[in-house]
């Protein structure tokens, strides 16, 4: 990625809350699941941004919010200078061409009744990107791009393995020549050897087409491998953001540290002697998040102030930010061995 590249996607204080209703006839809102609660991020052209966090932290909701698949509660999503929340339907439709998604489960995200050809031709025709006579050639080109032989175009999804299906899903996302792809756990349903193939394909495509990629995963070693920058989420908020090596090898936020130390390292000599930061309990519910810093009930560094004041995302070194008031105390402790 070129550091001077321009910003293609910008999120400003994005909030996505899901209301909770109670009562049958007289429904009234009794609360909200704050799935995404004030996320500010920018993605440059050609950049791979990794988004990590445990289940329920809001990473998938953030992906869906970026694509305007769920209504935003607050904040703005700006793609190429256009605010997706306020633009007209026609403009939104046109913007969708630049913003595509790859889903986690390739067994569920492809229509079982559509052949590969039909799956890949549909976006081309829906967006009137090419004439019917040219569709065949474009589909062949897409299949070659993701490493599938065009002779398989007449086959149905069930005839392919998981890895091949994920290739089809990637080809479908690429059909409209988007600027940004959001990939929500694209490799977590795949076996290790197949996972490596898909990771290679994604990073190759990003470089070749100067694509921006938002790569969501819970596997930190995978995210570190593919990303330029990493954002760590906890309970709807970004708690740390920075260059991939910095975040994983020298984590600043206590949550990132615990996350890094929890990942088993595939090397018995290191793994047996490694110190682990054990977090007590489970991540709290986003319906009723703890006051102050949402991480404080599980945080080994928590002080009284953490229970009341929400820590802002502040600078923690060049090009990185962390949302913690005790960064100095955390930095004084040795860093955990990273995977």
């Amino acid at each position: 990625m070129n550091p001077g590249a321009e910003t293609v996607l910008e999120l400003r204080d994005v909030k996505t809350h899901f209301p909770i209703y109670q009562g049958f006839l007289l429904k009234r809102q009794v609360g909200a699941v704050k799935a995404v609660d004030g996320v500010t991020l920018s993605v440059r052209q050609g950049e791979v941004l990794g988004l990590v966090g445990e289940s329920g932290c809001g990473k998938s909701t953030l992906a869906r919010t970026i694509l305007q698949l769920v209504p935003t509660t607050g904040g703005t999503v700006v793609l190429n200078g256009k605010n997706l929340g306020t633009c007209s339907r026609a403009e939104l439709l046109a913007s969708r061409r630049d913003l595509q998604m790859v889903f986690q489960d390739p067994y569920a995200s492809l229509n079982p009744r559509m052949t590969v050809f039909a799956t890949l031709a549909e976006p081309l025709l829906a967006h009137r990107l090419c004439r019917r006579s040219e569709v065949r050639a474009r589909v062949d080109e897409l299949m070659n791009l993701v490493g599938l032989a065009p002779r398989f175009a007449a086959k149905y999804p069930h005839e392919f393995s998981g890895g091949q299906r994920q290739r089809i899903a990637i080809a479908r996302a690429l059909a409209l020549r988007p600027k940004v792809i959001v990939a929500d756990e694209p490799v977590s349903a795949l076996d290790v050897s197949i996972q490596a193939q898909i990771l290679n394909l994604l990073s190759h495509l990003c470089r070749q087409m100067n694509l921006s990629l938002i790569f969501i995963a819970h596997d930190l070693s995978v995210v570190k491998h593919i990303s330029d920058r990493i954002a760590v989420m906890y309970l709807g908020k970004i708690v740390e953001l920075g260059a991939a090596e910095d975040v994983i090898d020298r984590p600043a936020h206590p949550y990132t540290r615990a996350l890094v130390s929890a990942i088993p390292v595939p090397n018995p000599e290191i793994e047996r002697h490694r110190k682990r930061i054990m977090l007590p309990g489970d991540p709290p519910s986003p319906i009723n998040p703890p006051a102050g810093c949402a991480f404080h009930p599980r945080c080994p560094y928590a002080r009284e102030i953490c229970q009341t004041a929400v820590p802002p995302l502040i600078a923690a070194g060049p090009g990185r930010q962390a949302a913690c008031v005790r960064l100095d105390a955390v930095a004084a402790d040795p860093v955990p061995t990273s995977p």
């Binding site: 490596a196 819970h218 088993p264 595939p266 090397n267």
Partner: protein
């Protein structure tokens, strides 16, 4: 004598589209107190191996074609059902991957944790409840006295996995089979559960068979590892040996394709192709079509699992000939 000795186990599934050789001639043993890891990708037969031992293979379509699984002198595959039932669930226990579906949603946690005791031991309900409570406390459930009367949906994923572990360990088994018990959990919760299994193993002195696809989990937990591919064991070794000096090309390839073991940004090593279709007979080595070291004889001769050094065995003709 090993605690469990599995010999020539073959479990086939007879389906309309053919006979799937899910487990095809597996030999291994587990010593008392030992932790054995079984590693492999989906479809390698690692789960079916353990389901066969536990009598959990649906028959039909599954059928155990041959083999024995001798647990402390009793062949679990051939002995009368009554004898097998006295062992399974008491002396050999199992925990499963998905804590969301492996608890009965209609029964209180207390009923489910007590059940193995009520079945296997002559014990009053009151005494069983007291032991269930103690067990829940041992697996780290806070406020267990109150929560023992909850239903599964009132627990989080990590807590349900703890309940599963409590159920499995309440009869103080000598062997615990854990089938990917942490795959469905978040990493911070996974760390807690692995720690718990390690601690309880030390306290009870039980042997553990740990099935996983994550080489990271194996490296921290297991004394010995066996790698499975297409229904067969391709390599077995002490954990440190397997990571330091893998012999089989598949084991090497598996290690090389993990992002954590490669420099950042580099092209990841990939294994070309896909695992074989187990419904078709495989001539020679099952890994041959994807192997970078393949020679002609690999395609015709089935390699046996042969000991290369004490405690290390591999099923690769070329490694056995010292050519790799």
């Amino acid at each position: 004598m090993p605690l469990l000795a599995v010999q020539d186990l073959r479990t086939y599934f007879h389906t309309r589209s053919g006979v799937y050789r899910a487990v095809d001639g597996v030999n291994f043993s587990v010593e008392r107190g030992e932790t054995l890891g079984i590693v492999g990708e989906s479809g390698s037969g690692k789960s079916v191996t353990c389901y066969s031992i536990m009598g959990l293979v649906p028959q039909p379509p599954g059928r155990i074609e041959s083999g024995s699984a001798v647990f402390d002198g009793t062949d679990l595959l051939r002995c009368p059902a009554r004898e097998a039932r006295a062992i399974r669930g008491k002396r050999v226990a199992m925990i499963f991957q998905d804590p969301m579906t492996s608890l009965n949603p209609y029964l209180r946690i207390s009923e489910q944790v007590m059940e193995p005791l009520l079945i296997h031991e002559r014990i009053s309900r009151k005494a069983a409840l007291a032991r269930a409570l103690a067990m829940l406390e041992a697996v780290g459930i806070n406020d267990a006295a109150k929560r023992i009367h909850y239903y599964p949906h009132q627990f989080s994923g990590g807590m349900r996995q703890r309940v599963m572990i409590a159920m499995a360990l309440i009869t103080r088994p000598e062997l615990l089979i854990a089938d990917e018990p942490t795959t469905a959990l978040d990493v911070t919760v996974q760390a807690q559960i692995l720690d718990l299994i390690r601690q309880l193993q030390r306290e009870l002195g039980m042997a553990v068979i740990f099935i996983t696809h994550d080489l990271g989990v194996v490296s921290g937990l297991c004394d010995r590892v066996q790698v499975m591919y297409a229904g067969r064991i391709v390599e077995t070794a002490a954990t440190s040996t397997l990571f330091r000096a893998p012999r089989h090309p598949y084991t090497r390839a598996l290690q090389q394709s993990i992002p954590a073991l490669q420099p950042k940004g580099a092209e990841l090593f990939t294994i070309p192709g896909m695992p074989p279709d187990l419904s078709k007979p495989i001539a020679g080595c099952a890994f041959a079509p994807r192997c970078g070291f393949v020679v002609d004889r690999c395609r015709t001769t089935v390699p046996g699992l042969i000991e290369a050094a004490p405690g290390q065995a591999d099923a690769c003709l070329r490694a056995q000939a010292g050519e790799l």
